[in-house]
Amino acid sequence: SAVISQKPSRDICQRGTSLTIQCQVDSQVTMMFWYRQQPGQSLTLIATANQGSEATYESGFVIDKFPISRPNLTFSTLTVSNMSPEDSSIYLCSGQGSYGYTFGSGTRLTVV
């Protein structure tokens, strides 16, 4: 299966700033997804990152707050914009290929 390198692994950010999270897959994947995991909770799908076009967002998530890019089949970024303490979560990317799904190790974001 593919391996996803996600960075940063953790960050502490000031409210009002933005953070960009990167995911690099070591082989081509068909689909890429971004999830948020709030403290003690399950994973919630933010959006599907579409290669070369705008991401498809789930209900409750908007592009202005979580802009996503996917310039090619192996790389995607998620930006958390204008952060507030409520954005403190773990953010994970996922790739789907012929083998199934694989996940990055997550970015633990704390907003102060």
């Binding site: 068909t30 999830y35 995991q37 994973l43 599907t48 773990i90 789907q96 996940f103 997550g106």
Partner: protein, 112 residues
């Protein structure tokens, strides 16, 4: 969005005992998968069961699927302290979108 619920939310057992976790979902599915997550980081895929399968085994894991009740169970036999983790079911509703939707999760503690 979450697909469904898991129960129990938390489970504490002694090493050597069996652990059973249940998952319910709301919509028709293509397949159902179980994942393990240690310490709130990356997920590890455990097992996949397709909608036309009723039971599947992998080592100490046994998964059942009842599509009429929209439910699944994960049994871990002869548990070990290393099995301590959070366990999530996740469903693929459509192979076209490939979106993986997670249940609420069960936190398992195995006491040595």
């Amino acid at each position: 969005s979450q697909q469904g619920e898991e129960d129990p939310q938390a489970l504490s057992i002694q090493e050597g005992e069996n652990a059973t976790m249940n998952c319910s979902y709301k919509t028709s599915i293509n397949n159902l998968q179980w994942y393990r997550q240690n310490s709130g980081r990356g997920l590890v895929h455990l097992i996949l069961i397709r909608s036309n399968e009723r039971e599947k085994h992998s080592g100490r894991l046994r998964v059942t699927l009842d599509t009429s009740k929209k439910s699944s169970s994960l049994l871990i036999t002869a548990s070990r302290a290393a099995d301590t983790a959070s366990y999530f079911c996740a469903t693929v509703v459509s192979s076209n979108t490939g979106k993986l939707i997670f249940g609420q999760g069960t936190t398992l503690q195995v006491k040595p």
